[in-house]
């Protein structure tokens, strides 16, 4: 074991009062893979993401990212270490252009402070160029370079999702956490988004996603973890998960449409 796993989660627990939203979950995610987390509503998937991203501290357990203990670290530090995320509801600044929304994404790789702004330092000018270039790059990556000057107000839901992806990419992450990337978009767009996720992995970014669309997950994921009532009830390849009786009982079996 020379290499550390990308993400090593041990006995992760988050309690809200008496409720354990995430309960004693241990799992390892490898680099360069698409890892999926599925489970019924309220299974603790988003809480799990919040813990990994540092948005809330765990009650117990530890999180190791590339061999480094990041448990309880602030979310901005975790972002700088290379974990980016998107949210269930896409958050962008509507009254601004796509490109303007993206430029701040690379801010965490820059140093300029207020003083640089006042004197208009060379560092600031260089870093602004760098951020703009990175924004254009990621916009191109998600296939929207023709929309750079459009207002967020005027682009479609799927395009917004792509902009949110691009924003996460602009932080130069090693790992991207996608919370229901295909929520609220049609099947064809879902297919396109899946292709984009594959493209991200092909470019060396590891992906971890929460998703409800089973056909998307089954064709996309390398590894799936199933949560139910905050506990990990199964883990494995899509094949294994499909045939796991525990999963079928807890989740898939209750709804035939989902399995199909």
């Amino acid at each position: 074991m020379a290499e550390h796993p990308l993400l090593k989660i041990s006995n992760l627990t988050k309690r809200f009062g008496g409720l354990a939203a995430v309960n004693d979950v241990s799992v390892t995610f490898e680099a360069g893979k698409i890892n999926a987390i599925i489970g019924p509503n309220g299974a603790g998937k988003t809480t799990f993401f919040n813990l990994v991203a540092g948005a809330m501290p765990p009650s117990e357990g530890s999180i190791e990212f590339q061999g480094m203990d990041v448990t309880g670290m602030s979310p901005d530090r975790i972002a700088r270490l290379g974990i980016a995320r998107t949210f269930q509801t896409t958050m962008l600044f509507d009254q601004s252009t796509v490109l303007d929304n993206l430029i701040v994404g690379h801010r965490l790789r820059t140093q300029s402070r207020l003083w640089d702004v006042i004197i208009n330092s060379k560092r600031l000018r260089d870093e602004e160029k760098k951020c703009r270039a990175r924004a254009e790059e990621v916009l191109d990556f998600v296939g929207l370079s023709h929309l750079g000057n459009r207002y967020i107000l005027d682009i479609s839901q799927e395009e917004r999702k792509r902009v949110a992806f691009a924003l996460a990419m602009a932080t130069d992450p090693e790992l991207v956490l996608l919370d229901e990337p295909a929520g609220g978009i049609n099947p064809e767009e879902t297919e396109n988004l899946a292709a984009l996720i594959r493209k991200m992995v092909a470019h060396g970014i590891s992906v971890c996603l929460i998703e409800h669309k089973m056909d998307m997950i089954m064709s996309l994921a390398d590894k799936i973890m199933v949560l139910d009532h905050g506990e990990k009830i199964a883990e494995g390849t899509p094949e294994q998960i499909k045939n796991d009786p525990v999963v079928i009982e807890a989740y898939l079996g209750s709804d035939e449409d989902v399995e199909a």
Partner: protein, 343 residues
């Protein structure tokens, strides 16, 4: 139509505005008008301050009027009770505004959204009570009388209205210039990310506390300096300056002009100041006119006059861009820069 639209957003507009500011005393029909304009400029500086923390950074600060009063009292007390000259007291007002802003910010910015607003409302009220009740220091309800005017160093006499007008105009231009720099820069973009959402900003590696405190300190410094200028022109201040109504006035100016835009604070402040002057004979009843207008404005133009204009223009340009297809790169870049300032 397009030419008018583009003119309003062009760099030439800056020159026109500055020229208008310089020429105003020549076209004003009375000294009173110049005086009103100078006061409006002072309030506009305060509104620019509020725009940093509330407009760009998205944190509704209801103690802003309190910090304005602190700046005014700093100059008042330092010049009257301690024999300071105006200019050192003016700088001290900025430093005190920044320092107290830092202390209040570090505590209050731990709270989010309306909790932050409520907390700062209380801070504003505490500032008012301190000024009114702490008689040994602040002279209480008597106020501070015969505050030193800004020294003109034998060149100009700032107790005269017109020189003072130009002094205030100078600071206003300086204030806007600095904000335009900040809002366009990575620092301003950082504030804007926080305005969209704390969670998003943090996920982008932005240190929330550090940036919010920076925005807060900037805003209270602006408020302190604006208050200091007011003390220098009015030369008599009382505790009513710290009353919450001033905070709400400032918020109204910001909302009408355009929250989070560069020119919004100026447009809102001037517009409301002059409308108020025009309907002065209505006295309290003018609120019957203002109230409904404000409600309509917030419903139909939540980004104020300037914000609505900029969004309309930006969308219009963007929707036309594909037709021409990658319109000359220069123009594209220009649009981005303008949109980047959101004003």
């Amino acid at each position: 139509m397009d030419r008018i639209m583009n003119f309003f957003a062009s760099p030439a507009m800056k020159i026109v505005l500055i020229a208008a500011g310089i020429l105003f005393p020549l076209v004003a029909t009375s000294e009173y008008q110049i005086y009103v304009m100078a006061l409006a400029f002072i309030w506009a500086i305060a509104v620019y301050g509020l725009n940093i923390i509330t407009g760009y950074c998205g944190q509704l600060n209801l103690a802003h009027g309190g910090f304005f009063a602190i700046g005014a009292y700093a100059v008042g007390l330092l010049t009257v009770d301690y024999g300071w000259a105006f200019w050192p007291a003016f700088i001290a007002a900025g430093v005190i505004g920044a320092f107290l802003g830092f202390l209040v910010g570090v505590v209050s910015l731990r709270l989010k959204e309306h909790y932050f607003a409520i907390f700062t409302l209380c801070v504003g009220f505490i500032i008012f009570l301190l000024i009114e009740k702490w008689e040994e220091v602040t002279h209480g309800t008597l106020g501070v009388i015969s505050i030193a005017p800004p020294e003109g160093f034998g060149l100009v006499d700032f107790t005269e209205t017109i020189p003072f007008y130009y002094l205030v105009l100078f600071f206003l231009v300086l204030a806007i210039w600095l904000i335009s720099r900040i809002s366009r820069s990575l620092v301003g973009r950082t504030f804007l990310a926080i305005r969209i959402s704390d969670d998003l900003a943090q996920s982008l590696g932005i240190n929330l506390m550090r940036n919010k405190v920076l925005a807060f300190v900037l805003s209270t410094t602006y408020a302190g300096l604006a208050g200091a200028l007011l003390a220098g022109v009015v030369r008599f201040i009382g505790p009513d300056l710290a009353e919450i109504t001033h905070t709400f006035d400032v918020i109204t100016y910001l909302l009408v002009g355009g929250i989070g835009t560069l020119m919004g604070p100026l447009v809102g402040t001037l517009l409301i100041t002059w409308i108020t002057q025009a309907v002065q004979s209505f006295e309290e009843y003018r609120m019957i006119v203002f109230g409904p207008l404000l409600v309509l404005l917030v419903i139909f133009m939540p980004r104020g006059i300037v914000g609505t204009f900029l969004t309309w223009r930006g969308r219009r340009l963007a929707s036309r861009a594909p037709a021409k297809h990658s319109a000359s790169r220069v123009e594209k870049k220009k649009n981005q820069e303008e949109a980047g300032t959101h004003g």
